[in-house]
């Protein structure tokens, strides 16, 4: 196995090797002024620059000129330095001037408390964004045809046109409704109250009327609808009738879920799980962990373990500026949950302060193993996967 045998002295360059295999992401190092210090294949693929061309140049070359001029880059670096991370989405520029939509995470690298540089993780979202927009467009078009009811009423409220969407919503066919009064779609008590007539009068007076309320299908069942009534007038202002648009509001829920999914994806982005080897996952934890991020990280990792049936997971915490007891506790819970699933964990990049925090918690380390560097962690992981199952589970009962 090439990886296990490789002897690379410099920790960062080893990391670099691993990163070279990542083509979906760009993971590069900047110095404290935002000058590019390291480069890899994924970054080249994304931006078209070769290492010779880009190392030593300012990160602002990736930003659209107007953004770079506005001091955006400096601002992002400052936010990263002051708050421990800066996450953003926006247009980025390739060597040939073309732009792509990217999400970017900037995290400061500290040495003895001073910021000596930054790690920049970027991902091209263009394709996904376009797919999402396309999906959205198609969905809305479909909706317009089948999920909206768009019908025409005459000035007295009698139905004059019907649509497929209306059939779907209310179950009536065209013949069953043409020439009937619009109140046939209202709940009994509303009909008695003369609600339909009042709504039409309001629409005529105000130029438009929108409401939400119960409406009734052919089979008598009710649905909560959003209804808009707009008067149609001829050139002299004489009222000819109304256009009525109605929609079943259960749909709103689906929209909300779409937004939720997009939010999830962004969160997921900031904690990418990388498969470095068959059955071995690496979770490079970068930046500060708040409780929401920590919970996402655990959920994402455990789901990924189940999906890939990963036998070992390396939690690389060298990129976390500070590990307090809450975070340490959370990491150990994640390790224990992974163990319950049948997966061994190896911590990598534990700093002295972190070790103190963990030990002070008085937590039984159990099957948890830890290695100084990612290289050693990977070597151990390879041993575990290649070895017997007993090595995977040192506590034999």
């Amino acid at each position: 196995m090439g990886y296990a045998g490789a002897v690379v002295s410099d920790e960062l360059s080893y990391y670099q090797q691993m990163i070279d295999n990542i083509t979906e992401y760009e993971v590069i190092r900047l110095d404290d002024n935002g000058i590019v210090q390291s480069w890899h294949a994924g970054a080249e693929r994304l931006t078209q620059y070769t290492a010779e061309e880009i190392i030593g140049r300012p990160v602002s070359v990736f930003y659209p000129p107007e953004e770079a001029a506005s001091g955006r880059v400096e601002q992002d670096l400052r936010i990263a330095r002051d708050t421990g991370r800066c996450e953003s989405e926006g247009w980025r520029v390739r060597k040939d001037g073309s732009q792509f939509w990217a999400s970017t995470l900037l995290t400061p690298i500290h040495v003895h408390g001073t910021v000596v540089g930054y790690v920049k993780v970027s991902r091209d979202l263009t394709e996904r964004r376009e797919q999402q927009l396309a999906a959205l467009g198609a969905e809305q078009m479909l909706e317009a045809i089948t999920d909206y009811e768009v019908i025409r009423l005459d000035r007295d409220g009698y139905v004059r046109s019907w649509s497929p969407g209306a059939s779907r919503l209310k179950q009536y066919t065209e013949e069953e409704v043409l020439g009937h009064h619009v109140s046939m779609f209202y709940a009994e008590e509303d009909v008695r109250d003369g609600l339909a007539e009042r709504e039409l009068a309001t629409a005529a007076r105000e130029g438009r009327f929108e409401t939400e309320g119960w409406r009734v299908r052919k089979d008598g069942s009710r649905f909560w609808a959003n209804v808009t009534l707009s008067p149609i007038r001829d050139s002299t202002g004489e009222l000819l009738g109304y256009v009525k648009v109605a929609r079943d509001l259960s749909e709103r829920r689906e929209q909300e879920q779409l937004v939720q999914r997009q939010r999830d994806e962004i969160l997921e982005l900031s904690t990418p799980v990388i498969q470095v080897w068959d059955k071995i996952l690496v979770l490079p934890v970068i930046g500060t962990l708040d409780s929401l991020r920590a919970a996402r990280l655990t959920d994402g990792l455990l789901e990924r373990i189940a999906r890939d049936q990963a036998e070992v997971v390396i939690l690389d915490i060298s990129g976390v500026p500070a590990i307090d007891t809450d975070v340490a506790q959370h990491l150990l819970k994640t390790v224990e949950a992974a163990r319950l699933m049948g997966t061994a964990s190896v911590l990598s990049g534990v700093r002295p302060e972190t070790a103190q925090a963990i030990v002070h918690l008085g937590i039984e380390l159990g099957t948890l193993r830890s290695r100084n560097s990612l290289r050693d962690a990977l070597q151990l992981a390879l041993q575990i996967v290649g070895g017997t199952a007993a090595e995977r589970e040192p506590v034999d009962v």
């Binding site: 655990t298 189940a306 036998e311 049948g342 506590v395």
Partner: protein, 120 residues
């Protein structure tokens, strides 16, 4: 009633599958049936497949842990396989002591674990 408890014989090992929304009495019933079956067949290993459980509360977890302990007294080893991700983190938060149970991702790896020499 032990007919409806799916206990499978695989060489020297037994495999029991827990699934669905289980009543407490059913869980205890399975516990008894499996213990008897291990003793009767002199199995050396027991695989407990819980991949079909979408929740494991402290009661079910305790019965499983107890089953592992009893089976061990009967001279056999147990491995729990297929704990769902959400169930795993829930068990940890709940605080159920599970450090003495051996686990594996799936039945295949669980079997491999059972095949290995005890080392003790």
């Amino acid at each position: 009633m032990s007919d409806d408890i799916p206990i499978l014989r695989l060489g020297p090992n037994l495999m029991v599958t827990l699934q669905g929304n289980l009543e407490d009495t059913t869980v205890e019933h399975i516990e008894r049936a499996v213990t008897h079956e291990v003793a009767r067949t002199r199995a050396t290993g027991l695989l407990i497949d819980v991949s079909g459980l979408s929740i494991v509360d402290s009661f079910v977890a305790r019965v499983i842990a107890r089953l592992v302990a009893m089976v061990r007294l009967l001279g056999a080893r147990s491995t729990i396989v297929g704990i769902q991700p959400a169930v795993a983190i829930t068990l940890v938060e709940l605080g159920v002591p599970m450090s003495h149970v051996r686990t594996a991702l799936n039945a295949e790896q669980g079997m491999a674990l059972l095949r290995e020499p005890t080392g003790r």
